[in-house]
Amino acid sequence: MMGGPEAMNSTAPVQSAGHFGTGNRQNIRRRMLDTATAGAAWGAVLLTLGILLTIFVVLVHGSWMGLTQIGWRFFTSQAWNPVPGKDHYGVLAFLYGTGVTTFIALLAGVPLSIGTAVFIVRIAPCWMAGPVSFLVELLAAIPSVAYGLWGCFVMSPWLQNHVEPMIYASLHPIRLIPVGQYPSGQKAYFPSNLVRGGPSGTDFLAGGLILTIMILPIITAITRDVLAQFPAEIEHGAYGLGATWWQTTRLALDYGRVGICGAILLGMGRAIGETMAVIMVIGNTDRISASLFAGGQTMAGVLANEFMEADHPLYLSAMFYVALVLMVSALVTNLAARGLLSRIRGNLTRA
């Protein structure tokens, strides 16, 4: 580029009058730069799409042995026994673990997030709304493993010593609905069965609660944005008819319900895929138990725990199979969330 001006000086007189010269070397170079950068951008995009496709192909390929040898039985069996020769693989326990922890996270996280968003948009004075919003979003910046460490050394002992004994004391004696039998022959009752085994601190409840904190920021942020788009005209219309603050807020929540559903699904997607923090508090056992105080395992958790140990082909293939199931469930949740959120964006541009 140092020679730029001279190059222009030397080539400028060469141009003949009457047409726009094609021989300007500077312009040729500029055009080449165009081609090169556009090409690089294309390359980057193709590489990214290629990686996505490759991951999917590798997952399917890697799990092919499992897909053909285990097939649908993978989803009906909860035994996970990787001993060579008599090995047996079922994803059910991990599917259950993921489902239960995600359910607990949503059960606790959705009201918390929506409540926080309502506070930020409809209660907090200006000087408070910004900082509160910022602090909630800061929760998303904490690394997963830091949550795990905190969960393991602070939350779990606290649950075990203070919270779970209380829940245990209140739920254990209640035997409302008979729900079958334990393997020991003892009869099981709801809700007493939810606390069977007594406080442990490393269990489904702990896994669900750590996920609750981790999905708070995303649900809160999106719900906040959705509520902020509630039109002032409609708000005044409701107040003008004598609606109370809460009745007007209900109207706002109703107005944004599609967006809020999208937010919840995004949070759910995060809960399904979350790995590190969960395995540090969930107890890591491949069992299905109705008890919130029983240890469990999630799909993401089993992959992180056992990827080093998968030393024979079917074991490895079963791991890939778990990864495939995990990816498909996360993908479906995220696509659904995106669909809902794009629908409200469409509504907003039309309005």
Partner: protein, 285 residues
């Protein structure tokens, strides 16, 4: 019912814009209604922060008549309107002094139930603001929030309100489609029906036709003429012709003060104050 209303309106329109048939229209502009006042404002002052937006307004609004508030932008007419049902409570740093009585009850008394006040003082806004719900649910909304239950009661009241707003025939077959699917004029009549469903004594209208085409405007004006037989209407308007067409009484505001008020034909034909004359003849504003 509809044809005589239209003639009324047209008659009154001609009465004010042309001098000749004025005498004929006097009985219409000054009907024999009880001379009680629905709204009484005494020394009303409104502050936004430290800035005074309304200066000591004394005004009485007659019962079961249409009163128009006119004046250039920023003259305080909408502010005053929004004091009447305490919508200004929603604006931070807005302070109201003086007194407003609606049917003798003090609006700014500590004992006033604002929700009840707003229910009995319906408000129609500049921009039609149907809720993101069905036509039926829009009209049922004020009933539901004020605790009306029962399918049949709701259905009857919704029909009554839609009929009163002149919308029933147009929407009776599609009560369950979204209120946003209606045309602009229909949406505004839906909002009027919604306000009427709460059975108000007073209807406050803040430039209800400013976003509507002439035909829809005509419809709303005919409706106003009809509604004022049973309720008191205060309408803020930028359109002086509209004030002439619909209002029995007119109040002219300028820079936050009430300059003059009185029967509409007097304000528009022989006002006492030179500023009123300048405004109604289009010399400013």
């Amino acid at each position: 019912m509809a044809p005589p209303q239209v003639t009324d309106m047209v008659g009154r329109l001609h009465g004010h814009s042309l001098p000749a048939p004025a005498a004929k229209t006097i009985p219409i502009t000054a009907p024999a209604k009880p001379a009680a006042y629905a709204i009484e404002m005494e020394n009303l002052e409104v502050f936004y922060g430290k800035q005074r937006a309304v200066h000591g307004v004394n005004l009485r609004v007659r019962r079961n008549e249409v009163t128009a508030f006119i004046g250039p932008s920023g003259c305080g007419k909408t502010t005053i309107l929004r004091c009447l049902n305490r919508m200004n409570d929603l604006i931070p740093h807005c302070q109201v002094r003086g007194s407003i009585k609606i049917h003798g009850a003090d609006v700014y008394s500590r004992r006033t139930d604002v929700m009840e006040l707003r229910k009995r003082t319906g408000m129609v806004f500049q921009k039609a603001n149907p809720f993101p719900r069905s036509i039926f649910e829009n009209v049922a909304y004020p009933l539901r929030i004020h605790g009306v239950r029962g399918k049949h009661v709701l259905a009857a009241k919704v029909e009554q309100a839609l009929r009163a707003a002149g919308l029933w025939e147009e929407v009776k077959d599609r009560l369950h489609v979204s209120g946003a699917a209606l045309s602009g004029g229909q949406q505004q009549r839906l909002c009027i029906a919604r306000a009427l469903a709460a059975d108000p004594d007073v209807l406050l209208m803040d430039e209800p036709c400013s976003a509507l085409d002439p035909i829809a405007t005509k419809g709303i004006e005919a409706l106003i003429n009809q509604l004022c037989q049973t309720i008191t209407i205060v309408i803020v308007t930028h359109n002086m012709h509209q004030a002439v067409r619909v209002a029995h009484q007119t109040a002219f505001f300028y820079m936050g003060s009430l300059i003059e008020s009185g029967p509409t034909d007097k304000i528009f034909n022989t006002p006492d104050h030179p500023q009123t004359l300048a405004y109604v003849t289009g010399q400013f504003g």
